[in-house]
Amino acid sequence: MGNWKVQKTYEEINARIKSGEAVVVTAEEMVAIVRENGPEEAARKVDVVTTGTFSPMCSSGAFINFGQSNPTIKATKVWLNGIPAYAGLAAVDVYLGAAELPEDDPLNKVFPGEFRYGGGHVLEDLLAGKKILLKATAYGTDCYPNKAIEKEITLEDLPYALLMNPRNCYQNYNCAINLSEKTIYTYMGTLRPNGKNANFCSAGELSPLMNDPLYKTIGLGTRIFLAGGIGYVGWHGTQHNPAALRLENSTPKRPAGTMMVYGDMKHMKARWLKGISMQGYGATVAVGIGVPIPILNEEMAGFTGVSDEELVTQIVDYSYDYSHGVARNYGEVTYAQLKSGSIEVNGNEVPTAPLSSVVRAREIANTLKEWIEKRDFTLVEPVQTLPDK
């Protein structure tokens, strides 16, 4: 722990939240506050900074218990609206992955495939209160004799539905271009030939892990906004890479940290979790996440005051380099440049488009701010912060 001029504890901040005195601002608002007052004064003024992101997040899914039937079943194969769910867990527990597709999906046979409906769409339909057709087959045992069931389920009747995303909230991501001579269809969207457009996917200064670049306050147990409900950070996500190249302000210039998050689906809303279809690539889900960052000291004020001008990513070719593991980039750009609508690549002006919704990220940060101001939401000190090495 450093020797800070301003020092607050989680307990003190929560006491201020409960008495209605806490000062809560969004990560966008914090930029101007730190610029005007400096980090130390900003740390005295502000207690919590709220962040947000709403974008496609692969590595998401849900643990679902669909309740027993009479006679009982130990399901070995399960489909929800035709989307296979992994059933190798127990009798009626499954994990439904957001990227899962129907077994008879045409995939990329007629290129580029459409991937109209996948696991992410089932999750969205559940949150929207729609009926989902569940089919299960089994080999039958003495205690679970049933060999096949078919029933309609809704989120309301499910005994248990936990959104559990092994990797969300990437701390920074590549800006994608296509230097080949034909259009390519990627998880970074449709990229026109000869570097004619560039896509990027981060909320920049609103993005949760960009505001706590060294994971000083985020870790096991951090309470968050997850898809419109309350969720928690489990642990670091898959591919978490704290060793990524960083700027002097500690933010990474490359994809770096990730979070594993979970939360009870029964409190979530379809508006904040959308099944998505990436043409030629597959289906996945867009998830809305907001993380509150306690301003424990001037260091955290400085971190949360970071602006799009001070956040950088690399430009990567997705026609060859990305798919062949070539560690090469075509320069670095700031999020201010990316959000301006055009960047320069190899001396040419290239239009940019985001895949991550800044409007919705801002709405999440504002919603979380409201929850805290209304004293409905307090901060949790993590049992263990995310690994920083």
Binding site: F54, R192, N197, N199, K274, S277, A353, P354, V358
Partner: protein, 143 residues
């Protein structure tokens, strides 16, 4: 110059009469057929861009109406489902006419139907299928 995209529905009786070419000769209106399904003795559908003086375009449309052609401007048919759209911006990189564009600094993704040329590229690029080009789809499924 005035340019707009229209959807024409031709009644059975007119679908084999050469009325479209009159637009150039008699009304000084240029056209660009984007999509057409016209079979002899069947109702026909055409998505067409008309260019010329606003007055000439209007006269040309009146002329067509005398043959019982039903005319709708395309903007009523290409629409964005505002509940589905989550304002990501993916479509703005592919829209050739900037009908889908980003307002700065709010980063809101806006849709201006007047600028849309009906190309349909946004329909499959949009990850949540918020762009609906309902008529173009029905054209492609006609006999």
């Amino acid at each position: 110059m005035y340019a707009r995209i229209y959807v024409f529905r031709f009644p059975k009786e007119t679908s084999d009469k050469p009325i479209i070419c009159k637009l150039v000769k008699e009304y000084d209106v240029e056209f660009n057929i984007l999509k057409a399904t016209i079979l002899p003795q069947h109702e026909g559908l055409m998505v067409i861009e008309l260019m010329g003086h606003k007055k000439n375009v209007r006269n040309a449309l009146d002329y067509l109406k005398t043959f019982g052609v039903i005319i709708e401007p395309l903007s009523t048919i290409i629409r964005r489902d505002e509940d589905k759209c989550f304002q990501c911006g993916a479509c703005t990189g592919i829209c050739p006419t900037k009908a889908l564009f980003i307002d700065r600094p709010s980063m809101a993704v806006l849709f201006d139907p007047d600028k849309c040329n009906g190309c349909g590229l946004c329909v499959t690029v949009c990850p949540v299928r918020a762009m609906e080009v309902s008529l173009l789809q029905s054209v492609s499924t006609l006999p």
